[in-house]
């Protein structure tokens, strides 16, 4: 019997990736391909007064220059541009009109026979602007913000509970602190790219870098007013996205627009610099106010946040809600305000809202523990909550306590001297810090098709994406187990808008959704096989009910009596079918009785050179409770990746804007620092047991986000423990230790 679920399994797409055979969106070479290059605005706000493309057009090999003045027709209503994940507002329309909304906005598209020619010609396009005053500094707009009404929408702050003000006034110990996270950028390694193959019949095959092919396909059809059967969007491999590919990005519009204009195939690969307007983690000013009884009972949490959005859309997530969720606390109040800046709209970035909000909460909890003279881990254990107090319901499963216990044990937390600056190794101060993490365990409606052939091979298809998370592999594992086949007998097809319905891949919801979707469809296959098996003469399964048979090792077997079995191939041959195909949707009806979340406990060790302030993260342990783990190998990698992101968030990452120009100045990966190999040392991942019988059939929760949540706080807390210096604005660069 196969048992792939829960077994460490190498990626089924591994060979394609290590040999260079895996093709990404900008890598489809085809005859007659035209190459596009974008001209971007140099001002942050205003209008285009004039575009002179004559010099560009005079270059041999230039085919055309598209601007808002000469582009093909585009839809004129916001609804057309409102994709599945769009926030409230009026979405950006590339090359639509003369308005400049942010620096780096596309204003012209040069089309040429060769990429070098397109890029050179783009540098010759002259654009004159009527410039208007802009503002790009969240600190300047802090008081000009507008508040979201609590409880008004699912992404707004929750309604308050209890009586916050009296509780704060009565608190025996209180900690209040302001925390800041700057704008951060996803910087997936693969640049945003689209190759549009213009077929002879006028149909478009669009290879796009996206986390949701069907979202892009529907969007393109609306924006460019095309019939759905004219456009197919594909993304078999995605070179990282981390949320930046949830919304259709402008390059897919421009490339498709150009293909329609030229009636030929077009490729557009954005430069690394150009990617910095595609969305970002919004900067966040947070004030966390905690009140507790002296023994460590948390009485009250007030969490106030200001986050960045654009002038044209109201991007936000439920930033403040995590505070009232994570700990047992009778009184809680939230306030969330948005600061409009002349930047492009922010977008989801790995654990959106939780990465930033839990950072602030968990630093504040550390400060509260210091004020209470309590071990920070003890405080968290005392404040442990078995109920989601925001929604007032129990968890379907929550084994955070084991995360604390196992993480602390593996880390050696009991050897921690609570006194800051008390542990050292030569010239380095050693600090140990901890933090909790939390994320949602979401699942979304999805459809899966399985075609089982008589030779014992299954093809599974779904329009979801694998952005590096390992979706190909877990899909293969689940179907192999459900159909009793070896992994090698399974083929996975995904990243194609013509495949069965899938939402965008994000929010850690795809693993649970698609794996349970496979269970549903595999169940239908099994039932059909049983129906056929019953028709066989003297069928040993003649009186078996569908719930009494399983597919094991290529046979349909009675679960009560293993001797009663029929080979799958024989069953199909007897019935004269060479394939059984089923496509089923899974909807994950939720009665709302339980909260579904994942949790983590993060333990970090830093070493800080006392004289120079150089910070090294020498050890991180992340203990995760996330239901059943489908593939310990790829799951571990997911968490390690999240921890590396947390290191970057804590120490390195910051998008620098020159507010005079309203322009991002470190739009590259030499000056926007992400961790390199030398920044990352020992990372240990622990998955604690967390059976969950109710969330879904397989007990799956998903892992994409939880790995980063809490990491920056654990590191910041460790730095405090090492140095006695509390730095409340990220990233913690060495100079901040001396301020």
């Amino acid at each position: 019997m196969t048992n792939y679920i829960g077994t460490a399994t190498s990626r089924v797409d591994g060979r394609a990736k290590v040999t260079g055979a895996a093709k990404y969106a900008g890598e489809y070479n085809t005859a007659g391909l035209a190459h596009a290059s974008v001209v971007t605005s140099t001002i942050a706000k205003g209008r285009i007064a004039r575009i002179d493309a004559n010099a560009a057009l005079s270059i041999a090999g230039v085919i055309d220059v598209l601007t808002h003045q000469n582009r093909p027709r585009m839809a004129s209503v916001d609804d057309a541009y409102t994709d599945d994940t769009a926030p409230e507002g009026s979405p950006f329309r590339p090359l639509y009109d003369d308005r400049i909304r942010f620096s780096g906005q596309p204003v012209a598209l040069v089309l040429a026979e060769e990429p070098e020619v397109a890029r050179f010609a783009a540098s010759l396009v002259r654009v004159e602007y009527d410039e208007e005053a802009h503002v790009t500094d969240i600190h300047r707009q802090r008081d000009a913000t507008f508040a979201l009404e609590p409880g008004a929408d699912p992404f707004g702050p929750p309604k308050p509970r209890g009586a916050t003000e009296p509780a704060l006034a009565a608190a025996e110990v209180r900690h209040r602190g302001e925390y800041f996270v700057p704008i951060e950028h996803h910087n997936p390694m693969e640049p945003y790219a689209t190759t549009v193959i213009f077929e002879h019949d006028g149909k478009l095959n669009v290879y796009d870098k996206t986390q949701g092919v069907q979202n892009v396909q529907r969007y393109l059809c609306r924006v460019l007013e095309m019939a759905p059967d004219k456009v197919r969007v594909m993304s078999p491999f995605v070179g990282g996205a981390f949320g930046s590919g949830l919304r259709p990005q402008y390059q897919v519009v421009l490339a498709t627009l150009a293909a329609l204009a030229l009636k030929r195939s077009v490729r557009l690969v954005l430069t690394r610099q150009q990617m910095y307007v595609l969305g970002y983690r919004p900067a966040m000013i947070q004030e966390v106010d905690l009140g507790a009884k002296s023994g460590g009972i948390l009485d009250v949490i007030a969490h106030e946040a200001v986050t960045v959005t654009s002038q044209y859309e109201d991007f936000h997530r439920q930033e403040t809600a995590w505070s009232g969720l994570l700990y047992d606390c009778a009184n809680a109040k939230y306030r969330h305000k948005l600061a409009r800046l002349d930047l492009s709209t922010p977008c989801d970035m790995r654990a959106p809202s939780a990465a930033t909000a839990v950072y602030a909460l968990e630093c504040a909890m550390d400060e509260l523990a210091v004020a209470l003279k309590l071990d920070p881990l003890d405080l968290r254990l005392k404040c442990h909550s078995d109920r989601d107090q925001n929604a007032d319901r129990p968890y379907s499963s929550k084994n955070l306590r084991d995360c604390y216990r196992q993480g602390a044990q593996s880390f050696g937390w009991d050897k921690r001297n609570p006194e800051p600056r008390s542990m050292r190794d030569g010239a380095e101060l050693i600090g140990w810090g901890t933090a909790s993490g939390v994320w949602e365990a979401l699942q979304v409606p999805i459809a899966v098709r399985i075609v089982l052939t008589a030779n014992g091979h299954a093809e599974v298809s779904c329009a979801t994406s694998d952005i590096g998370t390992g979706t190909y592999t877990i899909m293969a594992q689940v179907v192999a187990d459900m159909l009793g086949l070896p992994l090698d007998n399974v083929t996975i097809k995904l990243g194609d808008s013509t495949l069965p319905q899938s939402p965008v891949e994000g929010g850690s919801w795809i693993a649970a959704s698609v794996s349970n979707g496979i269970v549903t469809t595999a169940d239908a296959i099994r039932r059909e096989l049983l129906r056929l098996a019953k028709q066989m003469p003297n069928s040993p399964l003649a009186d078996a009910a569908p719930t009494e048979v399983a597919l094991v090792d290529g046979r349909l077997v009675s679960v009560r009596d293993a001797s009663r079995a029929v080979p799958l191939a024989e069953t199909m041959r007897h019935s004269g079918v060479d394939r059984i195909g089923e496509e089923k949707s899974t909807n994950f009806e939720d009665d709302g009785s339980h909260a579904h979340n994942t949790h983590s406990a993060v333990f970090a060790e830093v070493k800080v050179d006392e004289q120079l302030g150089v910070i090294r993260v020498t050890r991180v342990i992340s203990a995760v409770a996330a239901g059943r783990i489908l593939n310990p190998k790829t799951a571990r990698s997911q968490i390690i990746g999240g921890v590396v992101w947390g290191i970057g968030m804590a120490l390195h990452e910051e998008t620098l804007i020159d507010h005079k120009f309203g322009r991002i100045m470190n739009a590259n990966i030499a000056e926007y620092h992400v961790p390199v190999n030398a920044d990352v040392r020992n990372i240990e991942v622990i998955f604690v047991d967390e059976p969950d019988a109710t969330i879904n059939q397989l007990g799956i929760k998903g892992l994409g986000e939880i790995g980063i949540v809490g990491v920056a706080a654990a590191i910041a807390n460790a730095i405090y423990h090492a140095t006695g210096k509390r730095v409340r604005d990220l990233p913690i660069s060495l100079d901040k230790l001396w301020r």
Binding site: E428, D609, L612, M665, H673
Partner: protein
């Protein structure tokens, strides 16, 4: 990138002839900085003269016991050259502190000297920059200047020179050999790079029709007591906030001779004869080191985002001198600072 003619130089004289004939031409060797800048439209040469095949790739001992390094020796070959590793380990260490293994395999010795600043505004042709577009103004002075200079700045420019290798070469009293239409000449390393003054578009004192042919190291390599200490925003593959090349010659506990150069703080590798003089004859210890650091940074001037560099540089000088005195140079792979 703009279109350009591509030619190869057959020998040094041909290279000089070609560049003299076309003022907007550039030499190309490793290409790691020039091609980057061309892709940004910061550099727009009409012609690239490929000098990468010229016979300037040897490292040879000089008659006086020094080393003559061909301008086209790749950075990694130089760092790992047995004579460099043995006699000039500070140079090897500085090279290995810079860029990445791949870039060091490509970048040439001469090109390293001629690499241009990493100032954000220099790289972004949409913003004013006196170095890129003389007279347009300096955006960094009142803008984002975390990476910028604290010493030798001018109202026209506060850019830094990004090289690590050059900091060690300055400390080692290297000489730059150049060829041009006239006779070949030698330039003291400390005179090779310029301060910005009112002409920040000129990084060096190399004439437009001259070519770097070699770097010469004098015999003294300070192989016993040296360090190269680089402080940056992540632990590898990042430009220096501050770096220090420190070398001492000790007799007992007394400093007989000292070399000290800073990177990441000025438009050129920063040496201060007064600071070095103050070390000579003193016991190797905190008092002398502190005095040297004070002298070196006495005139330092910080801007909105980089004032911390003054303190950082001071601390780094103290640490580097302590490392050099103790004979425990900084390893570039072990990130614990010794």
């Amino acid at each position: 990138m703009n279109p350009f003619h591509y030619t190869r130089a057959s020998d040094v004289a041909d290279a000089v002839r070609q560049i003299a004939a076309d003022p907007s031409a550039r030499f190309i060797a490793g290409g790691t900085n020039l091609i980057d800048l061309m892709k940004e439209d910061v550099e727009r040469p009409s012609r690239l003269i490929d000098i990468s095949r010229l016979p300037l790739k040897s490292v040879e001992e000089t008659a006086v016991g020094g080393l003559r390094i061909g301008a086209l020796v790749p950075n990694s070959d130089l760092a790992y050259h047995p004579l460099v590793a043995e006699r000039y380990p500070m140079l090897a260490s500085a090279i290995l502190a810079g860029a990445s293994a791949q870039l060091r395999n490509m970048a040439s010795t001469g090109g390293n000297l001629l690499q241009r600043t990493r100032c954000y505004y220099f790289y972004d042709v949409a913003t004013p920059c006196n170095k890129r577009a003389p007279g347009s103004g300096c955006s960094a002075i009142d803008g984002l200047n975390r990476m910028h200079a604290i010493l030798g700045t001018s109202e026209a420019c506060i850019a830094t020179h990004p090289s690590d290798m050059c900091v060690a070469l300055a400390a080692l009293d290297a000489t730059v050999h150049v060829a041009g239409p006239a006779a070949a000449r030698a330039i003291a390393f400390t005179d090779f790079h310029r301060l910005p003054e009112d002409a920040p578009q000129r990084d060096t004192n190399l004439q437009p029709d001259e070519i770097v042919t070699a770097i010469e190291l004098p015999p003294r390599g300070f192989a016993a007591n040296y360090t190269y200490l680089k402080i940056r925003d992540r632990l590898s593959y990042a430009f220096a906030l501050v770096s220090v090349a420190a070398a001492l010659e000790l007799e007992g506990g007394t400093i007989k001779d000292a070399r000290l150069a800073l990177g990441g703080v000025a438009h050129k590798p920063w040496r201060d004869p007064m600071a070095e003089a103050a070390l000579r004859g003193q016991p190797a210890g905190e008092v002398a080191f502190s005095r040297a650091a004070d002298l070196m940074l006495g005139d330092a001037k910080g801007f909105a985002h980089n004032a911390f560099k003054i303190d950082l540089a001071r601390r780094a000088v103290l640490r580097a001198l302590a490392q050099a005195a103790a004979g425990t140079p900084q390893s570039q792979s072990d990130k614990q600072i010794r």
